[in-house]
Subunit: 263 residues, 2 copies
């Protein structure tokens, strides 16, 4: 496995700066977010930028939020194809305001994915369902475990619908080793960052550099490897104090911590 920089880790940097920092730190993969792609001139321009730096695009973040409809994810599928990545990461969305019907919100996810698969296949893009930590169930993702993501993926071929293993979201799950083994070649992306306590007020921003928290990375990485995954590992960290740090320092830290991932 090789290291990839998810650009959310250096939110302040332009994609041109991020690409340059990857090269300087020997990082050969990059996973951009769509807002950054748009700010850099769109998917076509960004593909040229990354190509000129010899970078592999390891995923595109993100489609989903299906309660708002499917059009945005269709555009994300097109952008992933243009960027040259097969892996479109889906944050599926939470519950509508005022709703108490979690099973209904989950049915919307399954139905939306079923509706989108033909369009994704047509673009040679895989829909990669990301289970988010259960603390985001109401407002960001009603898919809360890897097992649940696999249940939704199961009616489709592994090259059509995959799953994301993000250590931050799944590390606590007693079923994690079994579900990673079950995932096999559905693993579309392996993302890492650490769980640090206490969490800050904005729970989205509580992630730490690999090694700063309670996650046993070699154990999870070993399970992912045994499941057959040998692709890139994206470091994706949402953390205000890391965002406030010089991106050059952050990317250097990411590269320095890479051996702790245990590939």
């Amino acid at each position: 496995m090789k290291l990839s920089l998810n650009t959310a880790t250096v939110k302040r940097a332009s994609l041109a700066q991020a690409a340059q920092l990857c090269v300087e730190n020997g990082i050969t993969g990059i996973g951009p977010w769509r807002d950054a792609v748009e700010a850099a001139g769109g998917a076509g321009a960004v593909r040229k930028l990354f190509d000129s730096h010899g970078l592999t695009v390891t995923s595109l973040c993100r489609g989903g939020f299906f309660q708002l409809g499917l059009d945005d994810t269709r555009r994300a599928i097109e952008e992933a194809a243009t960027l040259g990545t097969r892996e479109l990461i889906l944050v599926v969305g939470g519950m509508p305001d005022g709703s108490k019907d979690l099973p209904a919100a989950r049915r919307v996810v399954a139905d939306s994915i079923e509706a989108l698969v033909p369009y994704a296949v047509q673009h040679d893009v895989r829909l990669a369902i990301e289970p988010l930590h259960p603390m985001f169930c109401a407002d960001r993702a009603v898919v809360s475990t890897l097992g649940q993501a696999l249940d939704i993926a199961e009616p489709f071929a592994p090259h059509e619908v995959g799953v994301v293993v993000d250590t931050y979201h799944v590390w606590w799950d007693p079923q994690l080793p079994a579900q990673i083994a079950r995932a096999g070649d559905r693993i579309a992306s392996y993302q890492v960052c650490d769980w640090v306590v206490p969490l800050p007020e904005d729970m989205l921003l509580g992630r730490g550099h690999v090694g700063d928290g309670h996650i046993d990375f070699p154990a999870i990485t070993g399970a992912v490897r045994r499941a057959g995954y040998d692709g890139y590992v994206e470091v994706e960290i949402f953390n205000q104090s890391i965002w406030d740090t010089d991106p050059a320092t952050t990317v250097a830290t990411v590269a320095q911590r890479w051996p702790l991932v245990g590939v």
Copy 2:
């Protein structure tokens, strides 16, 4: 099922005040915390207090935090027996500082419960394992799902080791209906409060009154009833703004919201 007031909901009130408010609001059950019991003169005095108000003690919160040893839970067992409740709720504890070994922390829990069962049985007290929301896995409870709690309970008889169903901690779990059915007569306590977003900085204090958030109480209550549980339902709310409210107002609100639990 009948309503019980968990005294953490009115943290500012003395147990004497809480007992009086229960009577005034037609509440016949009460679930005290050990610090409040101690502040009110100990388990013997508190039992007399509750008896004089005609209150049933529905549980004692809490034993656990097994990484620190078993002595504190042995004392909690004795206090539960003195208070006249069979249900000792266990918050099992998180990971030791600096530890990354989650399976080891979970083994400590299983081993500790095994070691404590004879003492609990001798006092006619049931050890009730409470799965906490996965966001507390590192620092408060390495038991994160009802299924995991039941796996730990399984080697013992249902009257020896039970589980707690607290809506706040388990509402998100795709396996919840199946695991509640599996729990059957191991359900030692059914606790309710709502999940409101956004969560505040201190995640412990993000709970809402029944009806204020995203939880479908009638659905969960129905599953608990079908599993055979017909005991008290404890309302347990940790919320700074509720704690800052006059306890009389809070208990009145708890009683007023009771129909929304859907018993």
